[in-house]
Amino acid sequence: MSSDNGALVQVRGVDKVFKRGSEKIHVLGGLDLTVPQSEFLALMGPSGSGKSTLLNLIGGLDRPTKGTVEVGGQRIDGLSERKLAAWRARHVGLVFQFYNLLPVLNAARNVELPLLLTRLSKKERRKHVDTALSVVGLTDRSRHYPRQLSGGEQQRVGIARALVTDPTLLLCDEPTGDLDRKSSDGVLDLLDTLNRVQGKTIVMVTHDPHAAARATRTLYLDKGQLTTEPVA
């Protein structure tokens, strides 16, 4: 899925401006970023620095005001809403800080959600779900509803849901932000394994230096620009 130079994600000259009434808020300005295939990249920075905005742009959840976003050799900033949705379903796995599981569905059916958009049969979907849950070590919790699971377990279900379509790119927005240290370590171990063993490219936004330390590279975002040095 990577482009000719081995980069999976290429962000070039991206501006992102939000409008709040008559006020314009410049979140990102002329930002460039290259993420090679199979990298585990951590994005750090103070609140409001634009980390999640950048993640949303890479994941096709939002569009840049200016510039280009290319993932796996495909420009996604100009795709129609329908094509972008299909692209997300196929190529990107999303992990959220607060898990974003549907409380009315049990773990297995939460994991199955992205597969509903595919042509897989019920039996095939079931097989994929079982595999994803076994990867995160929750086979025995598949019938449990989110309220019956701990925070760490819920996040594992969230990761299984992100993995179930076998995407190349995993985008994690503060995946340990709502977890205690032990659960946090479990989730980070899992992400680490997915990166090293399965070759998943991971971009993780985090405030936690302990989490960032697990990444192969860390970049810092400040005032709309990326740096390799922590923001003072």
């Binding site: 949303n56 994941g59 959840l61 939002d62 809403e81 329908r82 949705a85 299909a86 997300r88 379903a89 196929r90 999303l94 959220f96 974003n100 549907l102 409380p103 009315v104 569905l105 059916r109 959600l113 992205p114 509903l116 958009l117 019920k122 849901r161």
Partner: protein
């Protein structure tokens, strides 16, 4: 189908709210069934009326009588093929609640003009031979367990016997079947000559006439000719197609169709607000979840279809259960004890009920679905 489980799970999120909404829709559709059956009961006479038959009544009102001698004059009018008459008899069989229509007629003429009432040759012959003979419809016979040979006493309320205060007695000589499924078989017909000779007063008068015409498209013209024939006489007439007469008869109870439509409109408008409010709340409560679905790859349209599907499932669930119960209860029979022989829930009305349930679901779900569709992922996830 694969999304049905997701939609169903969402309905179970607030079980009490869903149950109450479904119940209110359920009750509305039970009411719909009953109202449709009631409308059918009042309008079926109109729908079954023959296009080639006119009804001639007294110009003042149906309860004023007409001379029996009008028959020959009517039959001489150009365009009229045949004329025959009947009279409203009233009377009570055992209990005032045992209501059914009873009319004296001239058997041969009557059966020739109304081929929808089917008798065997033996029954026809027996009716011709028995002065006190009466024929009853199948539904009426079944209602009271009557059989051929039974003697039926009818206590008079309009037409007293000439020689006493007692009951009129009729011998059942035939049980007629309906030529069509919806032919009225709840009536009793007996011989006019028996009625004519035995009544205390009113000799030489009849209630109304039926006139058979050869060309239905000339009905208005012939009706005018009939009325002109009897203009400026002591008993002027009002002639109208049988359908219009039946409609006028039904309208004595008020414009039932309009009343029923008004009631149902009010009920369904209220239900629309209930279902619409349920769906609007459901969408408001899970903005973030809808955003998550979009983030996972569901399109704007796909998410809005899920919301619309939820609305449809609620209204169809309540609607179909309500229609089913109404159908079951109505099929048990006329709740008035025989006053409404056409009280039934027709296939057309059942289909209409399903269409109304679908429409209700679409209308109630359109606004919430649109709200869900326009939800931007980034905004939804920030809430």
């Amino acid at each position: 189908m694969k999304y049905l489980g997701l939609i169903w799970s969402n309905l179970k999120r607030k079980k009490l709210r869903t149950v109450l909404t479904v119940l209110s829709i359920f009750v509305a559709f039970v009411l719909f069934g009953y109202m449709a059956a009631l409308r059918m009961a009042f309008s079926q006479g109109v729908e079954l009326a023959g296009l080639d038959r006119l009804v001639v009544r007294h110009k003042v009102s149906i309860i004023q009588l007409l001379p029996e001698a009008y028959e020959e004059r009517m039959e001489r009018i150009e365009g009229v093929e045949d004329a025959t008459f009947a009279t409203w008899f009233g009377g009570t069989y055992q209990d005032p609640r045992n209501f059914f229509a009873k009319m004296p007629v001239k058997p041969e003429e009557f059966l020739a003009m109304f081929p929808e009432y089917v008798l065997t040759d033996e029954e026809r012959a027996a009716w011709g031979e028995t002065r006190t003979g009466a024929v009853v419809g199948r539904a009426l016979a079944d209602r009271f367990g009557w059989q051929i040979g039974d003697r039926i006493p009818i206590e008079p309320d309009i037409w007293r016997l000439k020689d006493g205060e007692g009951a009129w007695e009729f011998d059942i000589v035939g049980i007629y079947e309906g030529a069509e499924k919806n032919t009225d078989t709840t009536q009793m017909f007996f011989r006019h000559d028996y009625f004519h000779e035995s009544r205390r007063y009113g000799t030489g008068s009849v209630g109304w006439y039926w006139v058979q015409i050869a060309e239905p498209e000339r009905a208005a013209e012939i009706a005018q000719l009939v009325d002109e024939e009897f203009a400026n006489s002591p008993a002027e007439t009002k002639t109208e197609p049988e359908g219009a007469f039946a409609q006028g008869f039904a309208n004595q109870a008020g414009n039932v169709g309009a009343i029923i439509t008004a009631i149902l409109a009010a009920v369904f408008f209220t239900i629309l607000l209930v279902a619409g409010n349920t769906m609007a709340q459901a969408v408001r409560e899970r903005t973030e979840e809808l955003g998550t679905l979009k983030a996972l790859g569901f399109t704007h349209r796909g998410v809005s279809m899920l919301v619309l599907g939820e609305s449809l499932l609620i209204t169809l669930l309540g609607g179909l259960l309500g229609l089913g119960l109404a159908w079951f209860l109505i099929s048990k029979g006329d709740p008035s004890g025989g006053m409404l022989p056409f009280f039934y829930f027709s296939p057309k009305d059942r289909l209409l009920g399903v269409v109304v349930a679908l429409l209700l679901g679409v209308i109630a779900g359109t606004w919430p679905a649109w709200q869900a569709q326009r939800l931007r992922i980034a905004d939804a996830m920030r809430r």
